[in-house]
C-alpha cells in the first residue's frame, strides 16, 4: 500500500502540474469518440431501414401491389364492354406481391397469387362475370392489407428497437461523460493533495532547519549556522564579488557577572545584549552565538570607516542598556569587539574565526569596552 502510494506520488510528480488536465482531455476525447461512433451506428441503421431517397422502402412492395390491384379492379368494374385482355395493373399487382419474403412468411400470399391467376384466366376466356372476378380480388386485397399491417408493425418494432438502442447509447455516453468528469476531479484532488503534502513537508523541513540553526536562549543564529553560512560563502563564487567582514564580541567580565547575579540573570543579560545589538545591525547583517557569551556578526560592509561606525553603534547599544555590573567598566555591562575584513584571498573557516578572535583578544588586552579592526589594526574607543 505504501509502495503504491509512493508510486502514485512519483508518477504525479513526473507528469507535472498539468497532468490532470491532459488526462481529463483524454477522457473527454474518449467520451466524444464513443458518442460519435454510437450516433454513426444509429444513423447507418436508420438509413438502411428507412431510406426514403431510393424509393423501394419508402413505399412497401405490398403497398404498391395493393395500389395496382385497386387500379385493376377499378378498370374491371368500370368496363362497359368486355375486356380484351387482363389489365397490366393486375400483372403489376401480382409482381409486387410475388416476393419471397411475402410468399414464405404469409400463408395468404400464395393463395392470393393463385386467386390473381384465376382472375386473369377468367378475364382471358371470359368464363365468369366481372363482378365475381372483383369479388375474388377483394380477398387478395384483404391479404395485402394484412401483409402491409404486419410490415408496418415490423417497422414500428424496428423503430422502437433503434430508439431504444439510441437511448441506451445516450445513457452510456452520459455515464462516460460523468465518469470522465469524476476521473478529472479525482486527479485534480489527488494533485492538490500531493502539492499540499509537499508544501507541508517543506514548511516542516524549514521549521526544523530553523530550530536546528537557532540559539534557543537568545534567538540568534547558532554556531552550526555560522559554520554553514561561512562554508557556503567560502565555497561559493560570491566571495570574489562580495567581500564580508566578521565582528566578534563578548560581554566584558561576564563570569563575574554570573557569579554576582546568578546564571538566570546572566541569561537575561545575554538576551538583552543580543537584542540591543540586533537593533544596531542592518537588515542584511547576521548575528550568531559562537559560544558562551561570545557572538559573531557577519556583514557585507567592508569599508573601515563604516565598520568603525557600526562597531560604535553596537558598543553604544549595549552601554545604553545600563545593565548594572559592579565589576564592569563604568559599573555597567559593556562589550569588547574585534573586526576582521575578509578580502578575496582563499580562507578556511578556522582561519577566519581565528583572525577575528585575535582582534577580539586585542580589544580585551587593550582594556575592553572597545573595538579593534583588522587588517587596518586601527582601534576605536
Amino acid at each position: 500500500m505504501k509502495e503504491s502510494k509512493s508510486l502514485i506520488n512519483a508518477l504525479l510528480s513526473r507528469l507535472g502540474n498539468y497532468s490532470f488536465i491532459g488526462l481529463a482531455v483524454l477522457s473527454f476525447a474518449a467520451a466524444t469518440a464513443l458518442i460519435y461512433t454510437n450516433n454513426q451506428r444509429i444513423d447507418d441503421e436508420t438509413r438502411a431501414y428507412f431510406d426514403t431517397q431510393r424509393g423501394l422502402y419508402g413505399e412497401l412492395l405490398v403497398d404498391r401491389s395493393r395500389r395496382y390491384l385497386v387500379m385493376a379492379m377499378d378498370k374491371i368494374v368500370n368496363s362497359k364492354a368486355p375486356i380484351a385482355k387482363p389489365p397490366e395493373e393486375l400483372e403489376l399487382a401480382y409482381a409486387f406481391l410475388n416476393v419471397g419474403e411475402y410468399t414464405s412468411r404469409f400463408d395468404c400470399v400464395p393463395d392470393s397469387l393463385a386467386k390473381m391467376d384465376t382472375a386473369r384466366e377468367a378475364l382471358l376466356i371470359k368464363s365468369i362475370p366481372n363482378d365475381q372476378i372483383v369479388g375474388l380480388l377483394f380477398r387478395v386485397l384483404e391479404c395485402q392489407q394484412s401483409v402491409a399491417a404486419s410490415k408496418q408493425s415490423d417497422k414500428r418494432k424496428l423503430a422502437t428497437e433503434i430508439l431504444q438502442s439510441s437511448e441506451d447509447g445516450r445513457t452510456d455516453s452520459t455515464a462516460l461523460i460523468i465518469a470522465s468528469y469524476l476521473v478529472a476531479l479525482f486527479l485534480w484532488l489527488l494533485q492538490i493533495n500531493h502539492r499540499r503534502k509537499i508544501q507541508l513537508a517543506n514548511t516542516e523541513k524549514q521549521a526544523w532547519e530553523k530550530r536546528a540553526l537557532t540559539d534557543p536562549l537568545t534567538g540568534t543564529l547558532n554556531r552550526a549556522a555560522l559554520n554553514e553560512y561561512l562554508n557556503a560563502y567560502l565555497e561559493g563564487e560570491d566571495r570574489v564579488r562580495r567581500p564580508i567582514s566578521l565582528l566578534m564580541y563578548d560581554i566584558d567580565y561576564f563570569k563575574s557577572y554570573n557569579d554576582k547575579f546568578g546564571h538566570v540573570q546572566g541569561d537575561q543579560a545575554l538576551i538583552q545584549v543580543t537584542g540591543a545589538i540586533q537593533h544596531a545591525l542592518r537588515a542584511d547583517d547576521k548575528q550568531f552565538r559562537y559560544g558562551g557569551e561570545e557572538f559573531v556578526v557577519v556583514t557585507e560592509m567592508t569599508d573601515a570607516t563604516q565598520l568603525a561606525a557600526l562597531a560604535e553603534r553596537m558598543l553604544n547599544a549595549v552601554r545604553s542598556l545600563e545593565l548594572a555590573h559592579p565589576s564592569g567598566n563604568q559599573g555597567i555591562v559593556t562589550i569588547s569587539l574585534g573586526v576582521y575584513v575578509a578580502n578575496d584571498q582563499p580562507y578556511e573557516i578556522s582561519e577566519l574565526v581565528d583572525a577575528v578572535d585575535k582582534t577580539l583578544y586585542q580589544a580585551k588586552t587593550q582594556g575592553r569596552n572597545r573595538t579593534v579592526i583588522r587588517p587596518s589594526a586601527r582601534s576605536v574607543q
Partner: protein
C-alpha cells in the same frame, strides 16, 4: 376437366410477354434503339447461380453481361445510365464498368414475365458484404426494365 386443362394451356401460351409490350428502349444521346425482348431472351448465354434476395432461395439466372451488352449495341463503353421500369420506377447506376451487372432474362431456365419481375431485370453477380436476406440493400436491382438511357 379436359376443357380446363386445354384452357390452362392456352393461357400459358398467352404469357404476359405476349400480352404486353415486350421491347427495350435504349437511348444514347440522339441514338434511340428499340430492341425486341424475345430476341434478347433467345440470345442470353451468361449464367449465374446465387441466393436471390427477392425470392429468398437460390436461383439460376441467365442473361447478358450488362457492360458487354451496352458496348455491343452502343459501340462504346458506358459508365452511367438511368434505368426506367414499366411502372415508372427509376434508378441511376454509375460505375457500370467492373461492377458485375447482369441483365437477367431467365430464372431457373424460364423466361421472365412481368409477374416474375421481368421481362428484363438487373442484378449484380458480386454483392460484396451485403446481406442477401435484407431486400432493402438491393433496391437498385431494378425489375421490369423498359428503358435504358446513357448519361455519360
Amino acid at each position: 376437366m379436359m376443357l380446363k386443362r386445354v384452357s390452362a394451356f392456352l393461357i400459358a401460351l398467352l404469357t404476359s410477354s405476349m400480352l404486353y409490350a415486350a421491347t427495350l428502349e435504349l437511348v444514347d444521346g440522339d441514338t434511340r434503339l428499340v430492341l425486341d425482348v424475345d430476341a434478347l431472351v433467345a440470345s442470353a448465354t451468361e449464367s449465374h447461380v446465387a441466393f436471390a434476395p427477392f425470392r429468398k432461395r437460390t436461383v439460376e439466372f441467365r442473361g447478358h453481361d450488362f457492360e458487354a451488352f451496352l458496348q455491343q449495341y452502343l459501340k462504346h463503353k458506358v459508365s452511367r445510365v438511368n434505368v426506367t421500369a414499366v411502372d415508372g420506377y427509376q434508378v441511376s447506376l454509375s460505375g457500370i464498368e467492373g461492377q458485375t451487372w447482369m441483365l437477367v432474362t431467365h430464372e431457373d431456365g424460364k423466361p421472365l414475365e412481368l409477374r416474375t419481375h421481368g421481362p428484363l431485370r438487373l442484378i449484380q453477380t458480386n454483392i460484396g458484404d451485403r446481406d442477401p436476406n435484407n431486400m432493402s440493400l438491393f433496391d437498385d436491382w431494378i425489375w421490369m426494365i423498359e428503358r435504358i438511357e446513357v448519361v455519360d
